[in-house]
């Protein structure tokens, strides 16, 4: 009864959860705000897109992708065989167990008239599929511990998913093992299935036989194993048991487990460990079912969908409801497998600049939280924008994403959205005011650090600029100065003035001038300088320093 009720409760939670998760696919928005699309309108667009795809030649591409990408996952195999083994073992093993074992009444019995969970090949296969899942989980754990980046991005959601699967698998194997050695289970099998009558024949011979060949345990009972009794037991076994029971050794994982439990068989049977494990096993499964929409498991719905939708072809170039729907759906398709972050071409920077949102997987999950309306501090927002700015949009994550997520589209849309909200990348660094009264700026640098020390920290030293004799060659060579209508007003300080101000120790003035952020880094000044002053390199150093000063958010 508990089984039935919890099952229906889990189904209900799952369905409600799926509804709650799917609805945002038509309301979450990544991209610049435009006169909006309502949820209904976006739903309409989505249905129209589906119908249009189904009744076009693109349906063949989608069907191909269903086999190639969703079922066989060839795209993962090509890029990372170990990852494929991991994922395919978990996926195939679990699906097979679901159909063969969990849905045995609905599937196995319908397909195979001779189906019995205790006969071969089903007994063997159940163990095989369970082992596949365990191997897959083992690789998953190993990968997440071995890779520095995966280690960094592994979250509670990943651990919960792996832990829940481990509980399901281990409880399953232990349950089978406990049943093998349980006298109670043996007794009820005899009573309920064999149709033999204990009164007429007694139970010793069959027990002796099963103890000898079927791994059964009868603690406290002294069962003789004389040839005669064994012969008798064999006859009984053939008559009553053999037709629906293979040797438990075929359960090649559960059987060894039963051998480990064997010495404690009496105690385990007295507490009915088989019953306890059965509860653990099915409750874990039902918890998984109920949590499916709210955990990483939701990717079993969203990821195939993302692969199939993207196989139908790229979305329209312009900002449409289809694009918004796709992006929102793709946020759920991410399994946080970390492929993007492991291969990210700016990921190594993470070792130098402490901003987790440099990593694509982290940025994506932040965007998901943002579109869900989760509150973020301005500091967090700035970090997310900065992560997006350091990202070079090199397209590698999009090419490699096993879930087929068009990350590039999401990055570009998010960038446009942030720009619209006033979070343009440049806004953070470029000062909005410059104090023209330079007399007060002398010898000053924001805070109380000495200018030369601060400069040394960004690899600029006094001798780098002290050679300047103010000939203005740098300023005359500068194409930016040349292109400006009113250089002093647009740039605040000209290159030669910058060098002069540095010599005078006017830290605030050089750091707050727009010159450093307007430098095109063309190195014409430096190349032409008769004194060998490394002007452009000094500007790089000053930008580094300004960045450090602006970077007042606390690193994560």
């Amino acid at each position: 009864m508990i089984f039935t009720y919890t099952f229906y409760a889990a189904c209900l939670v799952c369905l409600v959860g799926i509804f709650c998760k799917v609805r945002p696919w038509f309301s979450y928005r990544i991209g610049p705000q435009k006169p909006g699309f309502s949820v209904w309108r976006r739903l309409g667009y989505a249905l129209r897109a589906v119908v249009r795809t189904v009744f076009s030649s693109r349906i063949f591409r989608v069907a191909f992708s269903l086999i190639y990408d969703v079922l066989l996952q060839v795209h993962i195999l090509r890029k990372d065989p170990l990852r494929w083994v991991m994922h395919f073992f978990i996926f195939a093993g679990f699906m097979a167990l679901l159909l063969l074992h969990a849905l045995e009444d609905q599937v196995s019995r319908e397909l195979f008239s001779a189906y019995h969970s205790t006969v071969n090949p089903f007994m063997f296969l159940r163990n095989l599929f369970g082992l596949l899942v365990l191997i897959g989980l083992g690789i998953a754990i190993y990968r997440r511990r071995a890779s520095r980046i995966l280690k960094r991005i592994t979250t509670r959601a990943d651990r919960i998913a792996i832990a829940l699967l481990l509980v399901i698998m281990f409880s399953g194997f232990l349950l089978e093992g406990a049943k093998i050695i349980s006298p109670s289970v043996f007794g009820s099998m005899l009573r309920n299935y064999s149709g033999y009558s204990m009164e007429a024949e007694g139970s010793d011979p069959i027990k002796s036989y099963w103890q000898a060949y079927y791994g059964a345990a009868f603690p406290g009972e002294d069962l003789p194993e004389t040839p005669k009794i064994m012969e008798q037991g064999k006859d009984m076994h053939v008559n009553y048991c053999a037709y629906c029971h293979a040797r438990p050794q075929w359960a090649f994982v559960s059987y060894p487990a039963s051998r480990v439990m064997y010495p404690a068989a009496g105690f385990l049977d007295s507490v009915r460990m088989d019953v306890i494990l059965w509860y653990v096993h099915f409750l874990a499964c039902f918890i998984g079912l109920a949590l499916l929409p709210f955990t990483k498991f939701f990717h079993v719905i969203a990821t195939p969908l993302s692969l199939l939708v993207n196989s139908a072809g790229p979305p329209a170039r312009e900002e449409t409801a289809d694009r918004l729907n796709r992006r929102a759906m793709e946020l759920d398709a991410c399994t946080s497998c970390g492929t993007c972050s492991v291969h990210c071409s700016v990921a190594p920077i993470f070792a130098g600049i402490e901003n987790r949102y440099i990593l694509p997987s982290e940025r994506l999950s932040a965007l998901k939280k943002l579109s869900a309306g989760n509150p973020m501090t301005p500091g967090q927002l700035e970090q997310i924008v900065e992560g997006g700015q350091i990202c070079t949009k090199c397209y590698r994550c999009t090419r490699l994403c096993p879930a087929g997520i068009d990350l590039q589209d999401i990055w570009l849309a998010a960038e446009a959205q942030f720009a619209q909200q006033g979070y343009s990348p440049a806004a953070r660094w470029i000062p909005d005011s410059f104090d023209r009264d330079l007399s007060s700026a002398q010898q000053k640098l924001s805070g109380d650090t000495d200018l030369l020390d601060s400069l040394a920290a960004v690899a600029v030293h006094q001798e780098d600029f002290s050679g300047c004799f103010k000939c203005k060659t740098c300023t005359n060579a500068c194409p930016v100065v040349d292109a400006a209508d009113d250089p002093l007003r647009e740039l605040d300080l000209l290159p030669h003035q910058m060098m002069h101000a540095l010599s005078l120790g006017m830290g605030d003035a050089v750091l707050s001038s727009r010159m450093i952020w307007s430098c095109a880094t063309c190195y014409l000044c430096q190349e032409h300088c008769p004194q060998g002053v490394r002007i452009t390199d000094i500007f790089y150093g000053l930008k580094n320093l300004a960045y450090r000063q602006a970077n007042r958010y606390s690193p994560n």
Partner: protein, 280 residues
């Protein structure tokens, strides 16, 4: 010798045809190259953090060193960035040790054995103009090209050692191999404006426009660049501007390579226009 091809971050999505055309040209000229998985050269953080920038470049060198290869890149910004990083790492042993400590976390090490080279240097120095012209089957006639040098390859010359910073010749000599003529133009060695696209979009646009009008004034039929960033900048200015083309496209067409691998449909120069100069 085998080279490690470094496409840089802007090719795969924003300038795909530069990658395909470069590889097509290198292949038909018999230049061996492999494509390891590199990371960004460090350009994207050079403004913000010296060490992060050095780490990025050093990691790329470490990858190339493992295969005992030099790096070849078609992007002048990637080239300049990595050449600069190498210069700093070779001069400043403290920084080098620090960077190597960071690399040690993934069992990599920068030793400074591998160099970074720009595509044009490989073509001019390794393959050589004579060898290239042997592959040119369909010369251009009467086509005037403005060679755009690209700042980060040229300067600072003491660091990048690409060509004479005041009167370079390498690009023109490679363009002439195709039969095209080169024009002398005022802003030949100046910036395309791309580095300011984010921080000062207005200045960035002005630099690009001045550059393009300078090329127009010189009577050029098109601008030829050999840098992903410069090309993307030129491609971003309105259609009224002078057509622009990437060097491997210009060379590839004269070598008779397929238009598909050259990606001519993705530039502002129509294939017909180029063919007119070949037919003449």
């Amino acid at each position: 010798m085998t080279l490690a091809f470094f496409p840089g971050c802007k090719i795969p999505y924003f300038c795909f045809h530069y990658g395909t055309s470069t590889k097509a040209v290198l292949k038909s000229l018999g230049v061996d190259f492999v494509e390891p998985e590199f990371n960004c050269c460090g350009y994207s953080v050079r403004n913000f953090d010296l060490k992060a920038f050095l780490l990025q470049s050093a990691r790329n060198f470490a990858i190339a060193e493992q295969g005992g290869m030099d790096i070849v890149t078609p992007c002048k910004c990637c080239f300049g960035t990595m050449a600069h990083a190498r210069h700093i790492l070779d001069e400043n042993h403290g920084l080098r040790a620090e960077i190597n400590q960071m690399l040690a976390a993934e069992n990599r090490k920068y030793t400074g054995v591998s160099r970074v080279r720009h595509l044009l240097s490989v073509l001019a120095e390794d393959v050589g103009a004579a060898q290239i012209s042997a592959h040119v089957r369909r010369s251009y006639h009467g086509m005037k090209v403005a060679a755009h040098y690209g700042c980060h390859a040229l300067r600072p010359s003491s660091v990048v050692q690409f060509d004479n910073p005041f009167s370079p010749t390498i690009f023109e000599s490679l363009i002439r191999v195709t039969g095209a003529e080169c024009v002398d133009w005022e802003k030949r060695l100046e910036c395309c404006g791309q580095p300011l696209a984010e921080s000062s979009p207005e200045l960035s646009r002005r630099l690009a426009e001045r550059k393009i009008s300078s090329a127009l004034d010189s009577g050029a039929d098109l601008i030829c660049s050999a840098c992903t960033y410069c090309q993307n900048k030129f491609a971003a200015v309105p259609e009224t501007a002078i057509p622009n083309i990437l060097y491997p496209q210009l060379l590839g067409l004269s070598m008779g390579l397929s238009g598909r691998s050259l990606g001519l449909e993705r530039t502002s120069v129509t294939r017909e226009k180029l063919e007119r100069f070949i037919a003449a």
